[in-house]
Amino acid sequence: MPTAGNFSSEIWLAVVTCFAAVFTQNILLSYFLGMCSFVSVSKEVKTAAGLGLAVVVVITATSILNWMAYWWVLVPLGLEFYRFILFIIIIAAFVQLLEMVIDRYSPALYLALGIFLPLITVNCAVLGSVLWMVIRNYSFVVSVGFGLGSGLGWMMAIVAMAGIRQRLDESKIPAGLRGPGITLIIAGIMALAFIGFTGVLQ
């Protein structure tokens, strides 16, 4: 089971990993994960922020759950190859549970987030960050930081994109480039800007 030594150094490593996941290795802009909903749900800042928030919660929580399931159950049993099935079941079950809990206790929040929750199960950013976490052998605390950072990074990218796209509504864009085409070009320019963060962390 991966550990990073004493507790304070682990916390520091988690903070650094979180920062890296938001800026230098943004899950969307450098790993292209979560593109489908990024292209289709980035038309309005409000909905983008709602979906982003839901993704932050789901990635952070499923990182914790899947870390425990992987290192405490699958690895001791030698069943690592079952991880894809286990991860996707845990993610689907967690999303379903979250949907029921929110519906029960906060109808207002359910109205704001409810429609996005089913979409999140098939959002590659969730499964992707869980798989990265396992491949990179992150310790528990670092995994929490990584999950949080991945979620925040994705949320930031989709909110920024929605803001830009709202402004684009009135501009004249070639017919073939309208919609997804221009979104991808903007995403490319954003990714270019984020390359500027490379080297901030060693």
């Binding site: 802009l29 292209f32 593109m35 190859f81 099935i85 590659c124 990265w132 070639p174 991808l184």
Partner: protein, 207 residues
């Protein structure tokens, strides 16, 4: 499930998959899991073959089980079938080509959440016989592969001056390499150009 089948000739299934309903430029589906590896033609080729096989085989399986799957749990059943084939691909890659498995990292596993696989199972395999579903999955996968391989070829050629690792005549010697092409922004730009081109062709064809 009522077991009713929609008959569509094999030729139409193939054409739809390759062009008319092409997953990428018609529906913008499934770019997540593969775009990241398109800075290298070889990695893309392996990903595309894996994806086409998973789509075809899971389409066939979903179709074969369609009359025994209750509607309420069909998403879960589909996900498990897809995950089953992805695990087989992952194990095969790790056993026979560990280096490639490391290069692809988490992206093989991400085929599970690729919208194309689930999309074809849901839209086609659920109401069709196994053999047409297999064809549909295979050719949807191939239509997707053609676009991604074109993207990969552009990116590797302009960014590294090679294709499949072989040095190309002009590009490896006189070409000032566009490193940005093999970095993430290059992927976004090239995909946007491909979309622009295909959509413009389609708009012209319709008018």
């Amino acid at each position: 499930m009522n077991g009713q089948t929609v008959t569509k000739p094999a030729k139409q299934i193939i054409l739809d998959g390759l062009w008319y309903d092409n997953a990428i430029f018609r529906q913008i589906l499934g770019i997540c899991s593969t775009l990241a590896v398109t800075n290298n033609v070889l990695n893309t080729l392996v990903m595309c073959i894996s994806l086409s096989l998973v789509t075809a085989l899971s389409g066939m399986t979903v179709s074969a089980l369609r009359n025994w799957t209750p509607r309420s749990v069909r998403m879960m059943v589909q996900t498990l079938i897809i995950a089953f084939f992805v695990i087989i691909v992952d194990i095969l890659l790790r056993a026979y080509w560990p280096e490639m498995s490391r290069n692809l990292g988490p992206y093989v596993g991400l085929i599970i959440t690729n919208c194309i696989v689930m999309g074809r199972c849901e839209a086609f395999a659920g109401t069709n016989r196994p053999w047409p579903s297999f064809l549909d999955g295979l050719f949807s996968g191939l239509g997707y592969s053609v676009v991604l391989l074109a993207i990969a070829a552009f990116r590797e050629l302009l960014g590294m001056g090679t294709i499949l690792g072989f040095a190309m005549p002009y590009f490896s010697t006189h070409w000032d390499k566009w490193i940005i092409m093999v970095m993430p922004p290059g992927g976004f730009f090239v995909l946007a150009m491909v979309l622009w081109l295909c959509r413009s062709v389609e708009i012209k064809r319709k008018s």
